[in-house]
């Protein structure tokens, strides 16, 4: 007993000693765990709180509402409309197969459209919205609404989308929008920032140039989501800002008339205010309906547009490079006067052709014009006269004047990325570009606007405007931007050496239109209110052979691609002029018969609407 009790005491001592060691160990471990808790929950709390919010909060951006385009009178020319869409959330549908086939019947979806929807469904999660149709007609939309009772999980939705109410009329001015692609997102920071699937961005024209002003900002919905990405509750809704509305200088009525005049023809019409540089109309024909692109153009429509021989995708006003033909003659004459090569009394005898440097140069009139002075040469568009003064003038002096008046240079700077420079040749240019010396014969044909020289219709319009306003520099514009009121310092600086020379040219253009024998006499308006002055032009697209010259075919007998371009430049009213225009009809045959009559109709409308335009202008200033 004693033995065992002493053993017990030993055992107790041992166990208590070990308990003490264990207890101390436990204490340190506990301190360790509590410090770990402190580290995570107090010290690193912010970091983990952020991570936790990142886990649970997800943002959904909605497409921003795009700014509109208005014409000068406030008419919406590119607006937004409510598109009727059909959304399906697959997980809310009991029998997806039944519903989707039912929808296929109701919407009369084609097999390819149907396959696209099924493919989209496969790629998305079951709680993600599937857009079955993004632009339904009202009939189909209401039909679906009537059948909703057996279409569980199908949601008819009204969403905001781009609309161009004047269809093809403004396509080449404002362009169009379509789904943003990777390139758009990469190139523009704001698109990247505002991107949502299905976002539509400007692809061309002003829609593209002013993307950053138009795009607006997203509505943002913040949702709490669970670990599987399902939305649990909405935390916040942040309303976005609509994009800026841009007001243009164009007049829809005149634009529509331009479209109508060029119907079934390829060409361009542009009209400009000769003092403010405001573009009143700018149309390139044929055009196409930009609404086709908003929800993605169908392959069939795209092929029709792409393969049209008249090239609707080409903006002929800004991209079309044409030989100016006789419409260059006012500049040639002006240059000769300014450089003192000729005076108004200088005459040339036209026999219908002239031999220069072993080459025969023909006047358009076979039998010749006889003795012609400057005024008559302009009026009747005598080629021989201009061969002669071009020869005396030289191409370098001519190109200097032409460039001064706006030819061979972009009119809108970088506003339209597609705009082309055109080409005003001189000796230096040829040496640099072609590595050859300038030939005198080339000067001769440059004098009647043929050869290397290439101008765009908008340049011709600007040139005409600057002659019409008395020879002063203007800067054309198409967007009214109130912030940008400061005019360039050389606005209205004279482009002439002697203002009398401008008057001589103006007078000659008047004769060309309003006097017997004038090339556009038949298109004149006698009423001084509408009376205008102009110059016709007929640009050859190929060299005329001797044989063809003898045949003297009528326009309709020549194949379309070989017919001459018809051009016309004009300004009006002749007394107190205000507007200038340029007309180009591709393969139109003859300037005086095809292009000039269009000017007559245009001026009627332009001048009728002048007062209305002025009243808008005054109102604007009164408000300030």
């Amino acid at each position: 007993m004693i033995n065992s009790s002493s053993d017990n005491v030993k055992k107790l001592n041992s166990i208590n000693r070990r308990m003490f060691i264990t207890g101390s160990l436990k204490f340190f471990i506990m301190v360790g765990i509590i410090s770990r808790l402190f580290f995570l929950q107090v010290k690193e709390n912010k970091k983990y709180l952020t991570l936790s919010d990142k886990n649970r909060i997800r943002e959904w951006k909605l497409a921003p509402v795009r700014g509109e385009f208005h014409d000068y009178f406030g008419n919406v020319i590119a607006g937004n409309f409510e598109a009727y869409q059909l959304h399906v959330i697959p997980e809310q549908v009991e029998n997806f197969k039944y519903v989707i086939y039912r929808l296929k019947d109701l919407l009369e979806l084609s097999d390819t459209e149907f396959k696209k929807v099924l493919k989209k469904k496969k790629e998305s999660k079951p709680w993600e919205t599937l857009i079955v149709s993004n632009n339904l007609s009202w009939e189909k939309f209401s039909k679906i609404n009537n059948h909703l009772y057996d279409l569980n999980g199908v949601k008819p939705v009204i969403s905001i989308s781009r609309n161009y109410p004047f269809n093809e009329n403004f396509t080449h001015v404002i362009g169009y929008v379509s789904q943003a692609n990777e390139q758009d997102i990469e190139n523009t920071e704001l698109i990247k920032k505002n991107f949502v699937p299905g976002l539509k961005v400007g692809k061309i024209g002003l829609e593209k140039s002013f993307e950053e002003k138009l795009i607006g900002t997203n509505d943002i919905e913040r949702y709490e989501v669970n670990a599987y990405g399902r939305r649990i509750s909405q935390l916040e809704f942040q309303k976005g800002k609509k994009g800026q509305t841009l007001k243009l200088t164009v007049d829809t009525e005149i634009q529509k008339l331009a479209n109508e005049l060029l119907k079934d023809k390829a060409g361009s019409i542009c009209v400009m205010d000769i003092f403010t540089g405001e573009v009143i109309a700018m149309h390139s024909s044929p055009s196409f309906d930009p609404n086709l692109f908003v929800f993605g153009i169908s392959q069939d429509n795209w092929q029709i547009i792409r393969n049209d021989p008249m090239k609707p995708l080409l903006n002929k006003t800004l991209q079309g490079r044409y030989s100016p033909g006789s419409t260059l003659k006012p500049i040639v004459a002006l240059s000769a006067l300014e450089n003192g090569i000729i005076n108004t009394n200088f005459t040339v005898r036209c026999t219908g052709k002239t031999e220069l440097y072993d080459q025969t140069y023909h006047c358009w009139k076979k039998e010749g014009h006889g003795y012609v002075s400057l005024r008559n040469a302009m009026k009747m568009s005598c080629d021989t006269y201009f061969y002669e003064i071009a020869r005396k003038l030289g191409v370098d002096k001519l190109s200097e004047t032409a460039k001064k008046f706006g030819l061979g240079k972009k009119v809108f700077d970088n506003l339209f990325e597609i705009e082309k420079d055109g080409l005003i040749p001189n000796t230096q240019w040829k040496k640099n570009a072609l590595g050859k010396g300038w030939l005198l014969g080339e000067t001769i044909i440059t004098g009647i606007g043929q050869g290397y020289i290439q101008t765009t219709p908008i340049q011709l319009c600007l040139m005409t405007a600057q002659i019409a306003n008395g020879g002063y520099k203007i800067y054309p514009k198409i967007v009214i931007d109130d912030k940008d009121k400061i005019k360039p310092s050389d606005y209205y600086t004279p482009l002439y050496k002697n203002s009398r020379n401008i008057k001589i040219i103006q007078d000659a253009m008047f004769g060309s239109t309003n006097e017997v024998m004038g090339t556009s006499y038949r298109s004149r308006i006698d009423n001084p209110k509408y009376q205008f002055a102009g110059k016709t032009g007929t640009a050859q697209v190929k060299k005329i052979t001797e044989r063809e010259r003898e045949l003297d075919l009528k326009t309709s007998e020549i194949p379309y691609e070989q017919r001459d371009h018809a051009l016309y430049i004009a300004y009006g009213p002749y007394v107190n002029p205000r507007y200038a225009l340029s007309i180009v009809v591709e393969h139109g045959g003859n300037g005086s018969t095809t292009a000039a009559p269009m000017a007559k109709r245009l001026f009627k409308l332009i001048i009728d609407r002048h007062e209305m335009r002025q009243s808008i202008n005054q109102k604007k200033y009164l408000e300030i």
Binding site: L12, I15, R18, K26, M30, Q41, V42, L49, N55
Partner: protein
Amino acid sequence: MYQHTRLTNNNFTFFQKFRNFDYILLICILLLGFISLATMYSTDGGKILFHTKSHFIKLMVFTMMMLFISFINIKFWFSIGYLSYIVVVSLLVWTYFFGITSSGSKRWMDLYFINLQPSELMKIFIILCLAKYFHRMKLENVNSVYTILTSLIIILLPMGLVIVQPDLGTSVLIAVSGVAVLWFAGINHKYFIYTMLGFVISLPFVIAFLKPYQKLRVLTFLNPDKDPLGAGYQIIQSKIAVGSGGIFGKGFLKGTQSYLEFLPEKHTDFIFTLFSEEFGFVGSVVLLVIYIIIIYRIIAIGANSRSYFAKLFCYGFGAAIFVFITINMSMVLGLLPIVGSPLPIMSYGGSSMLATMIGFGIVMSARVHSQQLIA
């Protein structure tokens, strides 16, 4: 001596036994039960659903059982020490052959009304068995080769049966429970040091023998960001939940990490994460304090027990509970690799709660019969 004989008569009345209860321990256990119930209610998303109901029923039944056990004389528990061990080992063998396979391991046996996980029970009964084994042994015999071998066999047998399930976590915890008793029984501390050294040295070889998923867990623990959506997901999300709780927590039923299902296994092994997210640092420390009080009471009861068996059991059980808690917490706090180990009482799971409550019951019985001598 006289007093002893009188008390060994073992004629306590019911009320005397009642008076002998350790009320601090009881209150702490009930408090823990209440907290676990509230937390379970939160895991169910603030509704009384399956887990809450089931946990409530288990709590009620097992608390009653614990009280019942505490009225039974500690001598009885001494007497069934070996028997209970053998019974649980046979259950493990049964499980090995006829157990239910779930998520790749055979851990449960179907008792028709309940699925029992015998490995959890082994965590307690191995303490009981070894406490009995060392109770009569003289100190000089404790370090004999025979004793050490026998006790090692007692530990390794159930360990092996659990490893083959396979369930590495539980088998390690069984070993920890057993080794704790060996430590208190007075086995030479050199053996512990040598074993520890041997373990560290052999660790690379052990890892080579691990199953691929176990290896992945170890690697993930070392660098959870390597595969944040795969193997590292649990530990990263758990740390985010705990860390975002802050000082005062996100509030009851407002733990976004668990509510939005970012937390895996939030009912069982990761229940502390949820609790910590909702109640913050303050709440977590309070919970720890409750656990510390419980462990302190268990040790105090052991210290005041007259019988060596009761002392050994209490110390062993106290150490085991401590290890269970610290391993679970270290795991969810990213201090240890993920091993399946529940948090006593807090975690959902009947077998674990049953085992823990039996342990509390025996401790309580030791308290009620603290003057009981065992021959």
